[in-house]
């Protein structure tokens, strides 16, 4: 069974045509992988479908803009995986 990280790394590789082996848990989706906001919509759509959740992108963006969070918390892939796990767990609670 794939881990959450494996699933999102595969989604990013396929959606953005990024070599899978260049993606690591430490990769920052924006700063390291160069994913822009439009490509991230495609990634969010694929993640929403794969996990049956709704990534709260607007909330995250607002928190970053307000200085309440850093982009690392949401866009470093190991952290993104953790956020997804939390959303999946909350859905099942």
């Amino acid at each position: 069974m794939s881990t959450t990280y494996d699933t999102i790394a595969n989604i990013i590789a396929e959606t953005c045509d990024i070599p899978r082996d260049s993606i690591t848990p430490e990769s920052h989706a924006i700063n390291d992988l160069g994913i822009d906001s439009l490509d991230f919509l495609d990634i969010a759509f694929a993640i929403d479908k794969a996990f049956g959740i709704k990534l709260p992108l607007e909330q995250w963006t607002q928190e970053v803009n307000d200085g309440k969070a850093t982009t690392d918390q949401y866009f470093v892939l190991k952290n993104l995986s953790a956020r997804i796990d939390e959303l999946v767990a909350a859905k099942g609670a």
Partner: protein, 157 residues
């Protein structure tokens, strides 16, 4: 269609929020300066405007689904297929299905049918944002009324 105003939709024919579907109708004008260039002696409705008709129909579906709280803007067009020529005077049936409502975006599948035959289809992504100003919301509400978008329809209807 009022091509000079970029209004590609004439009227909403059917809207079902329960099924997350919408159908609109659009009649290609018999005369337009667009046809003088596209193409001289062989007027065809430009494919990009057919895609815009699908995007506008999808947009009205998104607006109806969010009860006019927010406004969608076309962000991406995928798998667009232009299957046949459309000529002046044709009546088009434009259909859209809401596939997913994400955070700040929506995805639809849309198609156009004319005389029972498929004309074009695509998967569209729309960014969904707050109205940038009150004037735009007012004008969009007027346009919605003009084309018969039933905003008072029940959420499950």
């Amino acid at each position: 269609m009022r091509l000079e105003y970029f209004q590609l939709i004439d009227r909403i024919v059917d809207l079902s929020l329960a099924d997350r579907k919408i159908c609109s109708e659009a009649t290609v004008p018999t005369a337009s300066t667009i046809f003088e260039g596209h193409f001289p002696g062989y007027p065809l409705m430009p494919g990009v405007l057919l895609i815009e008709a699908m995007a506008q129909t999808s947009g009205w579906l998104v607006i109806a689904a969010n009860r006019f709280e927010r406004v969608p803007f076309l962000a991406s067009v995928k798998e667009a297929k232009l299957r046949t020529f459309v000529t002046p005077g044709e009546v088009l049936s434009v259909e859209a299905q809401l596939m997913h409502e994400g955070s700040g975006y929506a995805v639809t599948k849309a198609k156009i049918v004319a005389k029972g035959k498929p004309v074009c289809d695509a998967t569209l992504t729309l960014r969904v944002m707050d109205f940038p100003n009150a004037e735009m919301e007012t004008e969009m509400r007027k346009l919605a009324s003009r084309i018969g978008l039933a905003l008072e329809a029940p959420v499950n209807g």
